[in-house]
Assembly symmetry: C2
């Protein structure tokens, strides 16, 4: 049985302040936990219900494991319908971001994206298209927010997410900076080449003017119908698809 | 002030059973309500807070309007952060779906999509790309679910969503049937022509075998990375973009 203080730890990790304090975040579900075990992340402890077959989780001796009741799982899970396991995973400290590691590849740059589901879906989509780095403005939603982690479906274990002052970062950058803007050139007539950054803006306000100034190529997804805008996750996916489509032909 | 029975009506409309019984659904926020007012839908009553400038809503004499307190708005809204207005809109009865109205265009066919956010985003994306009809299996999430309506950002006012027995529908159909499947031909090497149906499957299970048999062209979005799958809203958007990209060049 879990102690009250253990349960309180899990509850506190729903909030960024306590995730930072403890250096931990939650991953739910055996499938996602497995992805973190087989990654550069350090899984601290896995809590699984008695009904989970322990063999299904590739637990090495380095990872603590505790069997808990379904009742306890419900107490520590942030989900309406808890899955079979919850893990405490250490928040990693990635090497400082340099543009050198971004050369000969594409990276996504998010300016104040707020919705956890959007960030999670963007990470999952990036992973599908082999994009390894996402660079977020400091006011983008926290990637270790449980809703973000959940929406990545395990892809967070593979895609590195960096938080930086994006204006300072872009000023010191030599890669082409493509930005999703209105009245830019059609994405379908754009040759993206082999490297660059793709700037996507906030759900309601788009890219901030100060960031927009640092974009070298304004790109637009043409509209055939009447919707006022596209969801930022959808727009990002269309950029990823267009960037990669020639490599698949 | 709203009566208890009025408040109960709003609460009941969070559930499909009562939406069907009353023939009504909820639309929240002035911006979305305006889209429904300027559409084929019949807006029954608009409830707006005192702080809303009534001139901002294009209310004709045909539409009932009631000013309510912020306190009442909070009671009838299904949102955590209520907007400025809530409207009761009549559930329309569209003419029976015939493949004739789908000719010389593309339509999206959803096989048991369950997540309200996904259906809403698909409707919004369809609206952006000028796709006017979405055909859903009878077990797809209800389009008048408030979370779906919200996620469409007003696009539901323009995109017709039909519920049919999709196996029976596909058996009587003469349009090309493209399906998002694994191991199909690359979407980037596919010439979609000028008309067709695009079948997208359930979030966890994909397209059902019985429906898959009725697909004439299996299409795959190639993967460069390691994510196991793409979100169905994301995959649908990439199909929409590929179908329309030549018309934009």
């Amino acid at each position: 049985m879990l102690s009250k203080s253990q349960i309180n730890l899990f509850k506190s990790l729903q909030h960024k302040k306590f995730r930072t304090e403890h250096g931990l975040f939650l991953v739910e579900g055996r499938k996602s936990i497995n992805e973190f075990i087989n990654s550069a992340y350090q899984v601290d402890t896995v809590y699984q219900t008695y009904t989970t077959d322990p063999k299904l989780l590739n637990l090495s001796h380095k990872i603590n494991s505790q069997q808990i009741s379904l009742n306890d799982l419900e107490k520590i899970s942030g989900l309406k319908t808890p899955q079979d396991a919850v893990a405490l995973v250490k928040i990693p400290v990635w090497p400082a971001l340099s543009t050198d590691i971004l050369k000969k590849s594409f990276s996504i740059l998010l300016d104040a994206v707020q919705d956890p589901g959007n960030l999670g879906t963007i990470i999952r989509t990036a992973d599908w298209f082999g994009i390894g780095n996402i660079i977020c403005s400091e006011d983008t939603v926290d990637v270790y927010n449980p809703k973000v982690v959940q929406a990545t479906m395990g892809s967070l274990a593979r895609v590195k997410v960096h938080y930086v002052n994006i204006e300072a970062f872009l000023r010191n950058n030599t890669l082409p900076v493509y930005g999703a803007l209105l009245n830019g050139q059609s994405i379908y007539n754009t040759n993206f080449g082999t490297e660059g950054l793709i700037v996507m803006g906030n759900e309601g306000n788009g890219v901030r003017p100060a960031v927009e100034k640092l974009i070298t190529k304004a790109i637009t997804i043409p509209r055939a119908g009447q919707a006022e805008s596209l969801n930022v996750g959808i727009a990002t996916a269309i950029f990823c698809s267009e960037i990669k489509r020639n490599t698949f032909k």
